[in-house]
């Protein structure tokens, strides 16, 4: 039938309907096949070619790449849109979105994949009902939920129904939050109200050169505030990866993006009642790394790359970093220790000396809460000189934002282990998963410096009189600074108090962490009964 290939000329016709009523059984089977084939072609061959020309894959192709071969079971293929109040729109099978479930490396996930070739992938009532149905399934059975977004936005022709449709999805995003992992891939446009569904999911992937996200587009910006800005600069993947922090991952193309989604899924449990899957990379748990003994430079003000330590201790040196280019002074991501998924939070002394600022605090806090929700133990590697000083930070609300990280750590009941690698000063020391806020195990390297203030600042306060009175104040300051460094800038004082459980050899970090994780496996902790806490959002 030619109409299957050229859907643009497809007009449902009374004679067709009458004929089909009269079809014998065999033809019913054939017609089912026809309808499926038709659905598979979405908006037609020409639109598919356009999609490909943009370097984008079709909704079907994406599903095929994301899931294990032959594992996809589709729902609502035969569902069609309700047609617009404005009239003139034809109905499409599937209504511009593919929904269903399948497996990733054998594990069940639910998903939708928007079809840009069908009315620009726009979201109307039927489209939204389909998405809502799979979200309900995902929550009921406890399987991750993945959305592949490629949509022009609300289907204007459906009026308020289209807005209601978004509301339905938002509701479910919130209901599913903390129950099953939710992942959003932005593989085309995502604008206006549509952005809030990805924003409420746990992870957002964006594809370079083909995706953008914003609440209002460049045209509106131009009209309202008379500013010229490109799509890319306003809401492109690079901007969201580095400035806004909206995107957790940015990948070069659809294929690599979907591969990374699969990789992420492998780190995560299917729901909040399960543990993350165990994956043995055959990396000996007792492997030592002598290079770590030399990682921290002799000069305490010299930076080093925390990622060297991260790669060294994790199984197979595999680390899946989130927000790689946003608030780089704090590193977060997933790795495995002895086969078990862990969430890793580490200060990065190579960027801004590893200081905590507004962006880093928010980035860390959300990650800690995700791990806690999904039973993923937290490992915290500390080298923090303090919170970032200055009016920019204070006016930006570093008090509120810093409090989020503090709150998130205290709230977390999963196993929590800290290693103080070098600096741990002042309030930032407490915030970074210290013993005092409920960490289970706190280790320190011999290079650790745990104190209220850095040596220079401390010497200036404590010995102010002596320094002022000295013939050579500069020399006196240096002398006092050295004295303070010797007395306080070490892990032994904290260890004497029991705030540090053990001072460990750097080379043994991996084995000590794995050993501790093992015994913490049975950890039980509860919180007082309440509706929910009031994290300083």
């Amino acid at each position: 039938m030619s109409r299957r290939c050229d859907t643009d000329t497809h007009e449902p016709d009374m004679t067709d309907a009458v004929e089909s009523l009269a079809l014998p059984m065999d033809d019913n089977l054939a017609s089912l096949q026809n309808m499926r084939d038709e659905a598979r072609l979405g908006g037609g061959l020409k639109r598919i070619a356009d999609q490909h020309a943009r370097g984008k894959l079709t909704a079907w192709e994406r599903v095929e790449l994301l899931l294990d071969k032959n594992s996809f079971e589709e729902f609502d293929v035969l569902k069609t849109g309700r047609g617009g109040h404005l009239g003139g729109d034809r109905e499409f099978l599937s209504d511009g979105v593919i929904t269903g479930h399948g497996t990733i490396d054998g594990r069940e996930v639910f998903l939708f994949s928007q079809d840009f070739t069908v009315i620009g992938g726009s979201l109307g009532a039927a489209h939204s009902e389909k998405i809502s149905k799979v979200m309900d399934h995902a929550v009921r059975v406890g399987a991750p939920f993945i959305g592949l977004n490629d949509s022009g936005g609300a289907r204007i022709q459906e009026g308020v129904d289209a807005l209601a449709a978004y509301g339905e999805i938002f509701n479910r995003n919130v209901m599913a939050s903390g129950v099953v992992p939710q992942i959003s891939c932005i593989m085309g446009p995502c604008a206006g109200g549509a952005v809030y569904s990805p924003a409420m999911t746990d992870f957002t992937f964006m594809v370079e050169n083909s995706s953008y996200m914003f609440v209002t587009g460049p045209n509106v910006v131009k009209t309202v505030i008379h500013q010229d800005i490109s799509f890319e600069d306003l809401g492109g993947p690079r901007m969201h990866a580095s400035k806004s922090g909206v995107a957790h991952f940015v990948l070069p193309n659809d294929i690599i993006c979907l591969r990374e989604v699969r990789r992420l899924i492998n780190y995560l449990p299917s729901n909040n009642k399960q543990k993350a899957p165990f994956l043995d990379l055959r990396d000996p748990p007792d492997r030592t790394d002598p290079a770590l003994d030399y990682l921290v430079p002799v000069n305490p003000n010299q930076p080093y790359d925390m990622k060297v330590l991260i790669r060294s201790i994790l199984d197979g040196a595999e680390f899946m970093e989130l927000h790689e280019n946003f608030a780089k002074n704090l590193i977060i991501g997933f790795g495995r220790l002895g086969g078990e998924t862990i969430g890793l939070i580490a200060n990065q002394p190579a960027v801004l000396a590893g200081v905590l600022d507004c962006a880093a605090s928010v980035k860390g806090a959300r990650f800690v809460r995700f791990c806690d929700t999904f039973n993923i133990p937290l490992i915290c590697l500390v080298d923090v000189p303090g919170f970032m000083p200055g009016p920019e930070q204070e006016h930006g609300g570093i008090i509120r934002h810093g409090a989020k990280l503090l709150y998130a750590f205290i709230e977390a009941t999963v196993p929590r282990i800290t290693v103080v690698v070098r600096k741990a000063y002042g309030g930032a020391y407490i915030v970074m998963n210290s013993k005092h806020i409920g960490a289970d195990i706190n280790y320190a390297w011999p290079t650790a410096e745990i104190a209220v203030l850095g040596p220079r600042g401390a010497a200036e306060v404590i010995y102010r009189r002596e320094i002022e009175a000295a013939d050579n104040p500069q020399a006196m300051l240096q002398q006092k600074e050295a004295h303070y460094r010797e007395t306080f800038a070490n892990p032994f004082l904290a260890a004497k108090r029991g705030y540090i459980d053990d001072v460990i050899f750097p080379r043994e970090t991996r084995s000590r962490l794995i050993r501790s994780l093992q015994f913490l496996e049975g950890k039980k902790a509860s919180r007082p009964d309440r509706k929910h806490g009031n994290i300083p959002l």
């Binding site: 497996t103 690599i256 055959r282 492997r287």
Partner: protein, 678 residues
Amino acid sequence: MFNKILIANRGEIAIRIIHTCKRMGIKTVAVYAEVDARSPYVQEADEAAFIGAAQAKESFLNPRKIIAVALRHGAQAIHPGYGFLSENPEFAQMTIDAGLTFIGPPPSAIAKLGNKTASKALAIDIGAPVTPGNPQPFTDPKIAAGFAEEIGYPILLKPAAGGGGRGMRIVESPEELPGALEQCMDETRKAFGDDHIFMERFITRPRHIEFQVLADQYGSVIHLGERECSVQRRYQKVIEESPSMAITPDLRERMGETACKLAQAAGYVNAGTVEFILDQDKNYYFLEMNTRLQVEHPVTELVTGLDMVELQLRIADGEPLPYKQYDISLKGWAIEARICAEDPYRGFLPTTGMITRYAMPRGDQIRVDSGIDAGSLVTIYYDSLLAKVCAWGETRGKAINTLIKALNGYHIEGVLTNVDFTNAVLNHPAFQQGELSTNFIDEYFEDGESKVLPPQEQLHFMVIAVALVFHSRRTLVRDSLKPMRPLVGSTQDTAAHTNYMVRVGEQVFHVDLAGDFVSREWEIQVDGRAYAVVTPDFEYYRRRLQLKINGVQNMFRLQYQQNHIRCFFCGTVRTFEIYTTTEWRLAHYMKRESVRALENVLRCPMPGLVTAICVEKGAQVRRGQELIRMESMKMESGVGSPCDAEVESVLVAPGQAVDTDEPLITFVRESCRFAEEK
């Protein structure tokens, strides 16, 4: 014999000397500067003394400090190693004056041979052939022009002081002379505090041949045969071997005799090296004599079976030479690769950082002299030489193969090195045929890459390695998640064959894998060509993978790079993109990963110190024009403009330490004209 000696050096050579001392029961004292406190040589020595700041002139170039340490620690002698103070006659004299033994030649011999003009005069005296040139050093450009007319172009400008090729310039025509002379004088003034230059004929496609000599205090001199060090970059040796394919027994005898005669005439004692240039007609010309233990001495040791450091110690202690010339014979072939912290793909600029992972090659007929280990710091303060890998074989071919295998398994992570570049040299057909000259690298390499494409089979091997790693990782994930797999739907993956498409650059390979992880035996086809492969147990924390392909063991180094795998094998370094068949069917729709956009910023190509800014704000600059001068690892070099442009602002100042990729200068964006746009 001495009870205790001090080693006035660092890194691999210090360790090399310590090893012989340990064998001979001599205690060693190491000296170290700030950045070296944790270096392996400091730990290997019996005693160690701190001698100051990292800058060489505060520590390793300070004779007083070193001699004071030697006296304090009760050392009886000082071994200077190479570089630093090893060829400084004042230091040798001060050592002797302090009542210590200098393990090296007498100061007078160092002084005589260290001055190029004097050593050349000496060579002429004993009748050794020298390159046509004028022995008169000069600073005046007018004199230079006259000399150049006499000698004939092409000519070579050489600083009268110093060595190692620093400051040397080739001049092809009279027009280039003034500019080249100025640069040459400028550099030598900065490096050696002296701007005298001399001039000689430049010989095309020369080979660098040197003779190892040994002389005792009683006038006997012998030579230990030749070493060929023709493969050089920026006048720094990269690959050295002994013997040389260019040397016949007769030529060896004549050149050796010249070398011994020269040493005798200079009153030379201890180990030294006489360097010659060999032209295409096998005429040899005296170049210079190095009055120290050479970096490349291990190749001589491997073919003669002697321990040069032991002989140095014995000679210094007053023992006569235990051998006559007829006792010396060269057995088999030895080749050495110098492993340096440098980026061959960025003009061999030095690199720095911490060695985060380190695995040395091991095996029969392989010798590694290494100064580093996991945790070592490579800094801008010293020479970039990290280690030397040598191999011995009965024939040159066997030695090359052994060395290639060794380098395939040499894993250094954290600091970029030339391991794979040296390996590429060894794999080059011209090297294997022995067609060497000091132009070798310029002739056969471009931007650190061989101009010859790697053999197809080599790429097939690499494809097999990356596909197996990818496949095994994928299988592992599936297997460990198996319990969660639903009964219906997902494919159970029982297929005997798995297919992948592997893309590297513009080439695509189809790989068919059949086998399993239990028997570890695989039948693999690459584009229809079959290979039998035996794998080890995969351990994903390892960076090296040994595969037996068609019965032969091969070592690969692999590294995940974002979503692709980088593989290092036989000097070929490539990033492989691997696709499943489903992915491959759709891969052609994907835009190839975009290259980095041209930017209006000059970024720092290497870590180092800014020594001079050559332009100011508003200046119009040409592409390639030198804008900033920097110093790193004793080398001064210029940083050229990436485009024709107008300078917007200069972001650094002289004396400032800068890191790789740090912005140095920005240009007015509209004014930028890149080569591609012309």
